[in-house]
């Protein structure tokens, strides 16, 4: 990977540009000057001062967005830093990401929010902090949401923890109307979860592993939908994993509840049978579920119930994964494998329309979280991701830029690869 300053004068030729308005691809050249797209049309003529790049065979998409990453800084810099996370993000084609506040200390003050912006100012990716819903993510006292929003918190979440107390969540939702930012919920009832380490199923029975039943998620989702309906607040359900959660959200949307939802590439790909070899890279919260759940998640993506694909990129040092399932930490990295998984499984294998899928990692999350709307059109800042939809590649340690490599996908062959990213005044050749 090469990260360099964006050329002052750049012409991208033979681009196949994703056009969401037309719901089609447009063949054209893109002229970029000082980071701004000056022209998008066929056969642009330029003088020799322009750097010319031929993108024949590649697709140019609005820059990818991931609204759910853990960059571990401050506090757990051995697993990831904002810098290493930014490299991981850009290598996966992402130009904007939202980082979760479960750091040490948690991002629950203005200083915490400012820290993320200051530290990431010169990094090649826009990093937006999501601030905690409750102080210290302890689930009892609300953070100063208005103050936090003023300095740039894009959403509020106690991710990793469910806000177990429904009264606290009610107040959080009501209060969040002052800032009009989404409340992002990690929907897993802790009491029902009861420290379960994998989906409660025939597989957990066979392996003797403690089960975390799907009702832990579904009851949490139902409660939050009911609270959102009651309060009129905006909620975003993180990493939905079960068929009935999808149904609940679908129904709530029809009734006008202001809910959006995301799914991870791994929950769309793997099932709890992954646990059969006791590999702790399968330990994820919420857990990998059944095949029927995977099918329902895909259905939810197709019919628009699920708005966003987000990675829940969760780096952990290898020693916390080279251990028993009970002992291991939860979560896997996702930024570098996300696009490969999405293209291979959803677009190539399942024939989901590429343009609709791209919306889930571009304009949909941008609108929900109030980020820069990535568009490939005249007059806007250049924020785009170039990919080859038909390149085979193998996901390996060499293609990982995160500090950690806790992933179940090492050795997977992907069809579809990110080639270049232009964002924030950088051009990245992956």
């Amino acid at each position: 990977m090469e990260i360099k300053k964006l050329e002052r004068k750049l012409l991208l030729t033979n681009c196949l540009i994703v056009d969401f308005e037309k719901s089609d691809f447009v063949r054209a050249d893109i002229l970029i000057e000082n980071g701004i797209i000056k022209e998008v049309k066929a056969n642009i003529e330029v003088d020799n001062n322009f750097k010319k790049i031929d993108l024949k065979g590649f697709v140019v998409s609005p820059g990818f967005i991931d609204v759910h990453v853990h960059f571990r800084e401050p506090g757990y810099e051995n697993a990831e830093t904002l810098e290493s996370g930014a490299r991981a993000a850009v290598s996966g084609g992402f130009t904007q990401v939202c980082c979760m506040p479960n750091t040490e200390p948690p991002i629950d003050t203005q200083e915490g929010v400012k820290f993320v912006y200051e530290k990431s100012e010169n990094l090649p990716v826009y990093i937006y902090p999501i601030a905690a819903i409750t102080k210290k993510r302890a689930g009892s006292e609300l953070t100063e949401m208005v103050e936090l929003a003023k300095v740039g918190a894009v959403a509020f979440s106690d991710d990793g923890n469910y806000v177990q107390n429904p009264l606290v969540m009610r107040y959080a939702m009501e209060y969040s109307k002052l800032v009009d930012k989404p409340i992002v919920e990690h929907a897993e009832d802790e009491l029902l979860k009861d420290n379960g380490v994998m989906n409660e199923s025939f597989v957990s029975t066979r392996l003797g592993l403690k089960g975390n039943p799907y009702i832990a998620e579904e009851i949490a989702v139902y409660r939050d939908l009911a609270l959102a309906r009651f309060t009129g607040a905006r909620i975003h359900i993180a990493h939905v994993t079960t068929a009935r959660s999808v149904d609940l959200i679908r129904k709530a949307k029809k009734e006008g509840v202001k809910v959006t939802a995301e799914v991870t590439p791994h929950h769309l790909t793997l099932t709890d049978s992954y646990m059969e070899n006791f590999d702790a890279n399968g330990k994820i919260a919420p857990p990998l579920r059944s095949e029927e759940d995977v099918e329902a998640l895909v259905e939810g993506l197709k019919d628009g119930t699920i708005d966003v694909i987000a990675t829940d990129h969760a780096p952990h040092p290898i020693e916390t994964k080279e251990t028993t399932i009970n002992e291991a930490s939860s979560g896997i990295i996702g930024l570098e494998s996300a696009f490969g998984l999405i293209m291979t499984n959803l677009v190539h294998k399942r024939n989901l329309p590429l343009i609709e899928i791209l919306k889930k990692i571009t304009i949909n999350p941008a609108k929900i979280f109030g980020l820069r709307i990535p568009e490939v059109k005249r007059g806007v800042q250049a924020n785009l991701t170039v990919f080859d939809p038909d390149e085979w590649w193998v996901f390996s340690r060499k293609t990982i830029y995160s500090k950690s490599y806790n992933t179940p996908f090492l050795g997977y062959e992907f069809l579809g690869r990110v080639k270049q990213v232009i964002t924030k005044g950088y051009r990245v050749i992956v």
């Binding site: 025939f202 957990s204 029975t205 066979r206 392996l207 003797g208 592993l209 403690k210 080279e322 399932i325």
Partner: protein
């Protein structure tokens, strides 16, 4: 007399031929144990490490005795004095021990999959002496040996496993082994102790112990662990005993020949009455002797044939 398996991690997927070979070998070692001189030189020059990360008396002693009877060199390591308490990982602990050139590891650990994990780190033969709520294969083998001894076969034998099925590695290993051997298995206990989808393993779920006792040839009673109390699985020991305890009163109503087993340690007066545990039906102490024979067989078959 070779096994298809390299390690004994559990009985899930272990073929019938392997189980038969282990049981046949165990019966011949039983004869050795009846002799005045109970030692054979089979594992001379081999080193076995007994790694016990969880307290155990009977399993540890049984393995040690089996190893000594086979003339192996033994190293014992238990968690109370271990470096694990100092924050060293399982991987480091085990690799350190293996650096001292040992051939076999017998491990007890509180986490499911621990034995399987070990095979990723080391070259030695791994024998699972119980991994949390997952499997306890040598216990199930000794149980099957005891049943076969009494009944001549395991085919079509009706075995009832009674109690906390959900948290029992003994139950799970027995279910895998017994169903492979063609026995009919029934599990019986409060619904809170019946794990999700257990019937898909080919066992029947029943809640009425008296009904179960009408047809069972073997009743295996599981220990109620104290730590399950007060967690809401069942309301009281009193009610548990009334519904699922193998009591004298309950047994008196059964006019059939029954074999009663318990993997130990027993909570007398809870899941089993003293009179029942010591009755003519009980083969509980028999199980203990077979335990040594079965462990000798497993060690012999997995370690004995190999060149160091």
């Amino acid at each position: 007399m070779n096994l298809s398996i390299k390690h004994l991690l559990g009985l899930e997927g272990v073929p019938k031929d392997d189980i038969n070979t282990i049981l046949d070998t165990a019966f011949s070692f039983r004869e050795v144990l009846e002799r005045p001189v109970k030692k054979v030189p089979t594992l001379q020059g081999k080193t076995v490490v007994n790694l016990f990360f969880e307290p155990s008396t009977r399993t540890r002693i049984s393995f040690e005795l089996a190893e000594k009877r086979l003339s192996a060199d033994i190293v014992n390591f238990s968690a109370s004095v271990s470096s694990l308490r100092k924050g060293e990982s399982l991987k480091d602990t085990v690799q350190n021990i293996l650096a001292m050139k040992v051939d076999t590891i017998v491990m007890r650990h509180s986490d499911p999959g621990a034995a399987r994990l070990l095979t990723r780190f080391v070259d030695a033969v791994v024998i699972n002496a119980g991994d949390g709520t997952h499997e306890h294969p040598t216990q199930a083998l000794l149980d099957m040996m005891s049943m076969r001894e009494k009944l001549g076969t395991l085919e079509k034998v009706n075995v009832a496993i009674v109690g906390d099925i959900k948290h029992s590695r003994v139950a799970l290993s027995n279910i895998y082994g017994l169903t492979t051997m063609g026995a009919n298995v029934v599990v019986c206990g409060p619904p809170t102790f019946i794990p999700f989808g257990i019937e898909k393993l080919g066992v029947k779920v029943m809640y009425d112990l008296d009904e179960v006792l009408q047809f069972a040839d073997v009743v295996m009673v599981l220990r109620i662990q104290k730590e399950r109390m007060g967690k809401g699985f069942f309301p009281s020991l009193r009610e548990y005993r009334k519904q699922f305890g193998l009591t004298r009163e309950r047994l008196e109503k059964v006019r059939r020949k029954l074999i009663i087993m318990h993997p130990g340690p027993m909570n007398r007066g809870v899941e089993i009455d003293s009179e029942v545990a010591e009755s003519e039906h009980s083969i509980i102490l028999h199980q203990v002797l077979n335990g040594v024979a079965v462990r000798m067989a497993v060690l012999f078959l997995l370690v004995g044939g190999k060149r160091g």
